[in-house]
């Protein structure tokens, strides 16, 4: 205790570093807690339900347990997909408070850029000799650049002239932008060798890694994760760290937060609001583009209409986590991914095929969303906003 003031005087810089590390790492811890938490809770529910149902069908319990680890992995991978798109949503929302419906298309454009780069590399024969990680780096950077610039351009064209208009007006403009981008990409894709359904060429990432084998009857159920998924998750986590650092520990971040809080006051304080908003779109678009590339890489194909549904889901995730909150977006994505994976894997098993799980996944996700919002009207990590009177 006695040495403490002494130390703080000695090195302010050191304290700042510690604070930054805390700022950057805290969300990671939060995220990890949520992943573990949701996994445990959902896992427990499954075990209990399976146990209750096992009286009528003894195999059910065994099967349910055997696929549990794999379902959790599926859920995490799916969750990170929603999470990465949700980051871009939440960035833009935080600053402008408007739902950028065209974000799904920014994501899709990223995917197409990745596919295009992959195709070019394959044409010149680079694909086989390039190390997979370098390939990921190149495509992700390309996707980020194009998507980021595109997002910035859309902001300049379709949203900036509407600043100050009623809140729903940019929403319609964004919907228009979304339609335009879909068809423009379709037009470009169909007049290049990529085609409407483009294949995402990648170097060989190797077979899925087998983590374990769980005996199930006379055979065994493997627990697997593909190397692409690992890359996907790693990049997503890196993105979260970078974004948190950017927003919480840099001058730019401070300007962004100031703009988000009060645009006119921020401009009085010397913040170039237009520039900051453009930068926010650039960052959000770049994140979306990276997500698009990683998604295409993971799935193997891209098409001009693939952005819409993940876009909506990501928006849901962002709201679930508390829109405007960066970690919240990640958390919301993870929770949503888990929910979908669990419902689609277990529902038909538990209802004896009466309800097709994969079909009801959406319903389950939205029902849970409504439930969570009833009890926490501003999302999982969102702060309750008191209205100014």
């Amino acid at each position: 205790m006695a040495g403490e003031p002494n130390a703080s005087v000695r090195n302010v810089g050191q304290q700042r570093t510690v604070e930054i590390i805390r700022m950057v790492l805290l969300p990671l811890v939060q995220l990890a807690l949520f992943i573990v938490g949701s996994a445990v809770v959902l896992g427990l529910i499954i075990v209990v339900v399976a146990f209750l149902l096992s009286r009528s069908d003894p195999m059910l319990f065994q099967t349910a347990l055997a696929i549990l680890p794999q379902v959790m992995i599926d859920g995490v991978v799916r969750g990170f997909l929603f999470a990465t798109i949700a980051l871009g949503y939440t960035m833009v929302y935080g600053v402008l408070e408007f739902i950028n419906f065209a974000h799904g298309e920014i994501f899709m454009v990223g995917g197409f850029v990745g596919a295009g780069v992959g195709y070019l590399m394959q044409q010149i024969g680079l694909l086989t000799i390039l190390p997979p990680l370098l390939f990921v780096l190149i495509t992700v950077l390309a996707g980020m650049t194009v998507s980021g610039l595109l997002a910035m351009t859309t902001e300049r064209i379709a949203y900036r002239p509407l600043r100050g208009a009623p809140r729903l007006v940019p929403l319609i403009s964004a919907i228009g932008m979304s339609l335009v981008l879909q068809d423009l990409v379709r037009l470009i894709a169909t007049s290049t060798p990529l085609g409407f359904n483009a294949r995402f060429e990648t170097p060989d990432f190797g077979q899925a890694i087998k983590l374990a084998e769980i005996p199930l009857g006379e055979r065994s159920m493997p627990v697997m994760i593909s190397p692409k998924a690992i890359i996907f998750i790693t990049v997503a986590v890196l993105m979260l760290i970078a974004l948190n650092y950017l927003v919480n520990a840099t001058r730019l971040g401070k300007a962004i937060r100031a703009t988000a809080q009060d645009m006119s006051t921020a401009s009085l304080m010397g913040v170039n609001v237009n520039q900051i908003i453009a930068l926010t779109f650039l960052i959000g678009g770049a994140l979306g583009g990276a997500a698009g590339v990683l998604f295409g890489l993971n799935i193997g194909t891209v098409n001009p209409y693939m952005g819409f549904i993940p876009g909506i889901k990501a928006f849901t995730a962002a709201v679930l986590g508390g829109i405007g909150n960066i970690t919240g977006a990640m958390v919301g994505g993870i929770v949503l991914g888990f929910l979908e994976a669990f419902v689609s894997s277990y529902l038909s098993m538990f209802t004896g095929g009466k309800f097709s799980g994969a079909s009801y996944a959406d319903i389950a996700a939205f029902s849970i969303l409504i439930l969570i919002l009833i009890f926490r009207p501003s999302g999982l990590l969102g702060e309750a906003v008191t209205q100014k009177v």
């Binding site: 929302y93 408070e97 739902i99 064209i157 379709a158 002239p161 509407l162 100050g164 208009a165 009623p166 809140r167 729903l168 007006v169 940019p170 929403l171 319609i172 403009s173 919907i175 228009g176 932008m177 979304s178 339609l179 335009v180 879909q182 068809d183 423009l184 037009l187 169909t190 007049s191 909506i312 928006f315 849901t316 709201v319 829109i323 009466k354 309800f355 097709s356 079909s359 009801y360 959406d362 319903i363 996700a365 939205f366 029902s367 969303l369 409504i370 919002l373 009833i374 009207p377 501003s378 999302g379 906003v385 209205q387 009177v389």
Partner: protein, 436 residues
Amino acid sequence: MTTPRPAPDPWTQLRARLSSGPGGYVFLSLYAALCTGLLLLNTRTSLLTDILFILFMLLALVVYRSQVALGFKLGLGGVLFGLVLPYFGVLNPYYIDVATQAGIYAVLALGLNVVVGFAGLLDLGYVAFYAVGAYLWSIFSTPQIANLFAGAAPIASGWFYAFILLGLAIGAGFGVLLGLPVLRLRGDYLAIVTLGFGEVIRVLAVNLDKPINLTNGAQGIKDIGRPPLPLADFVRGTLGWTLDDNQLYQLFFYLLVLVILLLTVTAVSRLKHSRVGRAWEAIREDETAAIAQGIPLVRMKLMAFAVGASFAGMMGVVFAAKQLFINPPTFDLLRSISILSMVILGGLGSIPGVILGAVLVTLLDLQILPRIATVLRDAQKAGLPIPAAFDPTQYQRLLFGLLLIVMMIFRPEGILPEQRRREALHANEDTGTPEA
């Protein structure tokens, strides 16, 4: 403001002359007569007829905006839309179908306008109520009903009218059902929950073919019952018009939609200027202040949801009967969004604006954009420098998207905005000239 009022430019002068006084009567009568005559002379679907038809629909707007006697307005409107358009519909079934669909969407947009425009609650799942109404009638008027109540026979088609009211009631019920859990939510949290609700209803429509086959799943329900034709014998016998059933049904649904639209407009405008309407407005402008004024927030919000949804439920019944076939993709998220775009495009909160928005978007979707695409395609064939990869017929959505953006940029308040909103929007604009 001491700046001298600038002399009105010729355009304003002309407009003033043509919209009131004797000039107005002459202009409107001439316009109407000319449009009607040309339309009836050109019944084949063509570019010219398309333009005439749009001018004809525009006439409604011109009449509405003019400052002539109310009786004249109503009379002219009645003749045009009650007589001329149905008669034209007998000669060409396409245009009256477009008009019917525009009417359906106008009612839907008016309903959504109650929720979004009046009460300020963003609803992205509005089409769900429409689906509920449509499936209600579809299930009860087809053998599908036997799966719900064993041994039940399809209900007699004469019950259609009762089901319109039932659709109204059930729509309202679902509105309350959605409203209850979301009362505490604001802004975009509300948007996402309503979006989810819309998706839930659609996914249920796709999936409720198991365990009992209620909606027939993705296959959709066909051969939906149509009400017996009223006055069919009168029209054929007494008037001696040789119309087949299809033409009669087309006229019937057109007139039915027209009547419902008129009723809806009356109901909505009365609501708007009632205590309830003012309470909604208060909630929209400032929730906290509204509570402080003693406005029962919960009841008013629920009422907004119920009223908005009831119109959709009612129209769903009519839509199903008109369409004869429904399937789940009809009720997807894009439909909700397009109804929302009608509301915002026309002018949030403004009743004539919303109707205009609905008519405009429907016309764009069904008539104008396909026509533009055909014209472009012909131009392309004739050698206009459009790259071969760009087939205009395939890119109507691109044009629609562009139009949305451009219209929002140039008229963010909507085409026919509510007076209050226009003022609010232009209040902080530094325009030197005072607006009339």
